[in-house]
Symmetry: D2
């Protein structure tokens, strides 16, 4: 049994971890913390989680009973807490953005924070299991990817060597439900009357997931920003609770056949537990990944074969956050990658 703790267990991601972990056969929950609800019973705060008899502890609680801790707290709080936890010999899966970017200047620019633990950046494994299985398995610290970054990277990276041929920067037009966008933007953006029957772009050319997508795209593929330009990423706020749909525009100087594109995605999906490539002619909508840890991908081209639209769908609270974190925990603990996630 893995003895785990969740710091920030009453936020959206924390609550989602509780939902999935309640049936996980190899997990023993030792610590749940919440600054807002400390002292109250989990099932009183979340009546739907009747299985939990635990009480929320303060965020600063002793973690020594835990082998592994999930951090579902703001960037700044993670930045401060992670070094302390590692020092105590606890392994960490950090759901914040604190340890995803390798460049502290880029971090400062997009997060408006000074990075106070740069010595850990090299060590931190990027928790995208489809590409970093070994690193994650052996990591003390896993930086769980951003929800938008997961949807973008898994829609582009499977093309592998074909990405060397792109002559223009990929354009990622992404649309997120409120639970995916809300935590990272100010006040009014999560108010019902502001969001319902509405739709908007936000943080255009300024969202912190753009450098995350770009860093791992260049690290994991032959795509070069110098030659083809910075990745263009536009997030939008959808009036739904959960889900991210990304519409990705790729342009090739020469036609790429349907067979070439489909074989890359099909092969990739066949090797991965939580990646599904749609049948020809089908594109995923949000519904097909709701409440699941899967990402689903579809692809369409124009008649020239030069322009491709890739559409990816995932549930931002599952594959985009807590489900992926559990997938990473499974790998770190030598368990089946999909345990507790089907």
């Amino acid at each position: 049994m893995v003895r785990i703790g969740i710091i920030g267990a009453a936020g959206l991601s924390g609550r989602e971890l509780l939902h999935w972990l309640k049936n996980h056969p190899q997990v023993k929950i030792e610590l749940l913390t919440s600054s807002k609800y400390q002292g109250r019973q989990v099932s009183e705060v979340f009546p739907e989680l009747t299985a939990y008899s635990q009480v929320f502890e303060p965020n600063e609680s002793d973690v020594s009973a835990c082998d592994l801790v999930f951090l579902a707290i703001p960037n700044q709080a993670s930045l401060e807490l992670v070094p302390k936890l590692l020092e105590q010999g606890v392994r960490v899966i950090d759901l914040s953005g604190a340890f995803r970017l390798g460049d502290t200047e880029v971090f400062s620019k997009f997060y408006q924070l000074t990075h106070t633990a740069p010595e850990l950046l090299d060590e931190a494994a990027f928790g995208l299991p489809e590409f970093y299985k070994d690193e994650i398995s052996n990591a003390r610290l896993v930086a769980n990817p951003g929800c938008y970054a997961t949807g973008a990277l898994l829609g582009i990276l499977p093309l592998g060597d074909l990405l060397a041929e792109l002559d223009r920067a990929p354009i990622i037009d992404a649309k997120s439900g409120v639970s995916g966008a809300g935590g990272r933007v100010e006040g009014d953006m999560t108010n019902y009357v502001s969001v319902n029957e509405n739709f908007k772009a936000y943080k255009v050319f300024a969202h912190q997931h753009q450098p995350e997508i770009q860093q791992y795209l260049t690290e994991l593929s032959p795509y070069s920003t110098k030659e083809s330009g910075d990745v263009i990423f536009t997030p939008h706020l959808l009036p739904v609770n959960r889900g991210i749909l990304s519409t990705i525009y790729l342009h090739f100087p020469e036609a790429i056949t349907v067979a070439e594109i489909r074989s890359r995605f099909s092969k990739f999906a066949a090797e991965q537990k939580f990646v599904h490539f749609m049948d020809e002619g089908d594109l995923p909508d949000l519904k097909v990944t709701l409440n699941s840890n899967r990402v689903m991908i579809g692809a369409e081209s124009d008649e020239s074969g030069q322009n491709w639209v890739i559409v990816t769908s995932l549930d931002n609270l599952v594959k985009g956050a807590s489900g992926q974190a559990i997938q990473n925990m499974n790998l770190m603990c030598g368990l089946d990658e999909s345990l507790g996630l089907l």
Copy 2:
């Protein structure tokens, strides 16, 4: 007083015409038809329209009491009816797509219909008042623009001569509420459980508004598809009743300054009654144009000044359909363009 008729007055666009015309000071309604509700009183079918004492007549009713007729019926039905109405000396504003495209082969491909009145295509004025005021004023037949096309064209065309410099095709990633998308796609797409808490792309590289955008973009600007490629247009279905937000990606080989872009849009907006250009740093959401005949436009660039994102917002049932149709009627009848629309 203009004596008008509405053929198809009980559909979404027809009902919206009724809403706006009930307070129009220069309109006398002579005929309202509906195949579904013929024989029933308007205010019985739509209790919110208590002002209407008329009864819905059959679609084939005599229009001789009308000076001008709005057609809010399917493409095929418009195609058949328009020649007959013109023959009877009635002026027509057609809200369908039947007379928007100049090329009957393109029409056949995208509408899956043979064009049976090609002799009228030259004569038909494209009902985008911001660009065709004179043609509309004198027209017997106005082809009211598609909702997506209105949002795309008004976000690109104001840039005028700058469009000659585009070295890549504009990419229009558009998101529409159900009333804008529903009429033109099959069954399940308008079912509540299918749409609510969902989001999807549809008709990728296959939507009939793509050639409409492309035709008028090349007709009204120096943009050349031969040099820079076919316009890329991806429609999506939003879980809201009304509204279209278009995110438009433009790429210039050389940096364009903020001042250059803003001056083009500001000048254009200043000359137009229903175009509003947002303050610097602001982008429109759906809410700012809800229930109004306005299109609102915002623009953002990346640091290089080569990549621009233009966002436009409109209400698909007003500026995207019935409001624009009334704007056209006002022009055709020598009235103030905004009469009844403020």
Copy 3:
């Protein structure tokens, strides 16, 4: 021209007043205040209100240029401001609950506030124009009714003398959109993820509109709480932006015929500009009153004729707040009751 001011013009009710007043032919806006947005231009804060060139002033601004002032601020703030305004000779329409209840003990209990201006309670006219036209016309101070109270009272009071026969307390099961419920309850209730895809009862047996309904029901009809009991009122929170639907259960010891019930409502509706009684067999939904100042009413009985369900629909921001306030302003100023509201 009536010279008016709006204190709290940037809240939901204030913004709705701005929407309706922009086309009102007899109103001149002298003062708009907002504590949150003071110093900013109206059209910058609300891009959809392009017609307004004014700047939001502080809430404490001088009102001496105004004949009449709308208060769209919290209960406590109204309680403090109203006596000062009246002293300055300005007439006041108060949209808060501060001056609706005649009994200061009941007020304290339901509003958790001590009433600091009890001397004005007798003078304040209850702004339900269907029943207090004369009082409103002559009032210095109008207490604009609560949204729930308007929907409940207009569904019961038209039955007039029949209400003497009720042998049980009316049960009002009311469902409100977020803009109607949000202002009066705490934090989380207006968060998108909490409200969307959800529904709940709140403040059961504890909502401040219960004593309001009860007071005016007994004042304006022969209904007696001593004989038949306290009115039962349960508010619920609907995942929609606007609208209140009230399902009202009435029980008579002897059968009442359909004709008797219908004649009472029909007669009442015929005399009122903004009350509509549905055709037999029809009940109103929220949509039929959206964005209008109307209340729509329907009635159904069981086979015995003893049990009646009355359903009323209104838009909480219009007939439930700002529209009704303008209706009251028209009466106070000797204008047509419906001016600017059609």
Copy 4:
């Protein structure tokens, strides 16, 4: 292993059965039918159900490989099919309303159908496991309860002997998401634009679940309609996908203490796997039962103690349909009642 079939596996209830059964450890799926999708693979029609390799067969397929069959088809179709299935020795759980009512005249009146298998009515067990465990365990035919009926009965019946004291008919004001209401009402009621941002009462004094509630209330408690009147039931349509919230009004001639009411519900909940009684002061909303087989119940009284409001929440597709059906299957097959449902 129980070998099961689902007739009508692609409707809302059928699809929900597939969702829950995919992880059920004691079920082997032998037959899935769908008239609409026959010949197509399950995972092609529902990409989210990637686990299913089966193909939808025609509704008339041979069921001889099945021990037990779920019917998720319309009332008329169930009425015809059930006798044939029983004759073949297959046990049946019927999710339609065909075998719930004991009185064929009442059935005809509310379902507009003649009952063609009245000989089976006595034998059919009513599939409310909280009250009919033994009958269900031994049944050949289980009539799975209506979603509204489940929510109403589980909110009233736990009061047991106290129900003898009710001097007025219970009033059940119920609000259902579209998946609960849609299947049983006509066309427009499930169209997105008709439902979204809307709310309505429907089938007032005419819904087929009223006699179902009344029959089992009188059968399972001392409540008497002769003395206290027919149960009053008003269904409403909520703009959400799933969930039913019922607000139940009970009146006692003498005060009932909070302790009395709470002890009845607490005791009942303690004995049942899927019934949860809220803490004092709490009422359930829809969210707490979403995607679960639980019903959650809360209770509040006025100061007199004579008027009580009971609120129940359930997911109409789970406890209101397919989850309850699986609970019944478990009982029929001697398995743990909650197998596959946690």
